[in-house]
């Protein structure tokens, strides 16, 4: 199974990539995705996550083909 992982704004710089494809065999939560894909980087304060372009908690299970995104607090408007 495979998912797409994306990092926005300051997180892209912090993690050192803005996008990656992550292959996995066992069930993963959003939290696991961060740990696997960033090689265990500490969780940033106020980390936000989305699965398939909807806000998701870190304990949500990801599915094959999902797009998982991580980003810092939003600052639009």
């Amino acid at each position: 199974m495979s998912i797409k992982v994306r990092y926005f704004a300051s997180l892209g710089e912090r993690v050192g990539q803005t996008e990656s494809d992550l292959d996995f065999v066992q069930d993963l939560t959003v939290r696991d995705v961060w740990q696997l894909d960033t090689s265990g980087k500490p969780f940033p304060e106020n980390l936000l996550a989305a699965v398939n372009m909807e806000y998701a908690g870190l304990d949500v299970q990801v599915q094959d083909g999902d797009e998982v995104a991580f980003f810092p607090p939003v600052t639009g408007g």
Binding site: M53, A69, T75, G76
Partner: protein
């Protein structure tokens, strides 16, 4: 109800007039219109800002803005509503965001517009990076709560 992401500078008055011209057909007549416009200033937290880069999450940003309008429409009596949000390189005095709400009564127009702006500020995936006059850049870290008197 509609949202629009705008990579170029836009004239908010023109946007509202164009949108409003189309909403008159068939809709009930509106009696109240509430507009909010956010404009880029050339300073922030005591430092002169030369320009700004507004990053977003194409796909999710539109989806989230649409959800904000739908949620507002479930709570307030809204005839129509329109959000335009700028992305990309922004210069001082340019419009960042426009929220327009058309209703029958003024209470709904004011309350819905405000709630939409607060939801946008706290949940719509946009991120500002300021370019200072020194050439340095910095990410804006946090939006303030507009309901609190500063």
């Amino acid at each position: 109800m509609k949202v629009k992401i705008c990579p170029e500078a836009f004239n908010p008055w023109q946007e509202i007039q164009d949108y409003q011209a189309n909403l008159t057909e068939g809709s009930p007549k509106f009696g109240a219109t509430s507009i909010f416009i956010g404009t880029m200033r050339d300073y922030n937290e005591g430092v002169t800002v030369q320009s700004m880069a507004l990053d977003y999450y194409p796909g999710m940003t539109e989806k989230q803005l649409e959800k904000i309008l739908t949620d507002a429409g479930e709570y307030w009596q809204i005839i129509d509503a329109y959000i335009v949000h700028r992305v990309g390189e922004i210069q001082p005095d340019e419009t960042i965001v426009l929220v327009a709400v058309w209703t029958s009564h003024r209470g709904d127009a004011f309350d819905a517009n405000r709630a939409i702006m607060e939801a946008l500020k706290s949940t719509a995936p946009f991120w500002k990076k300021e370019v200072l006059t020194t050439g340095q850049t910095r990410w804006v870290e946090k939006n303030t709560d507009g309901y609190q008197k500063m």
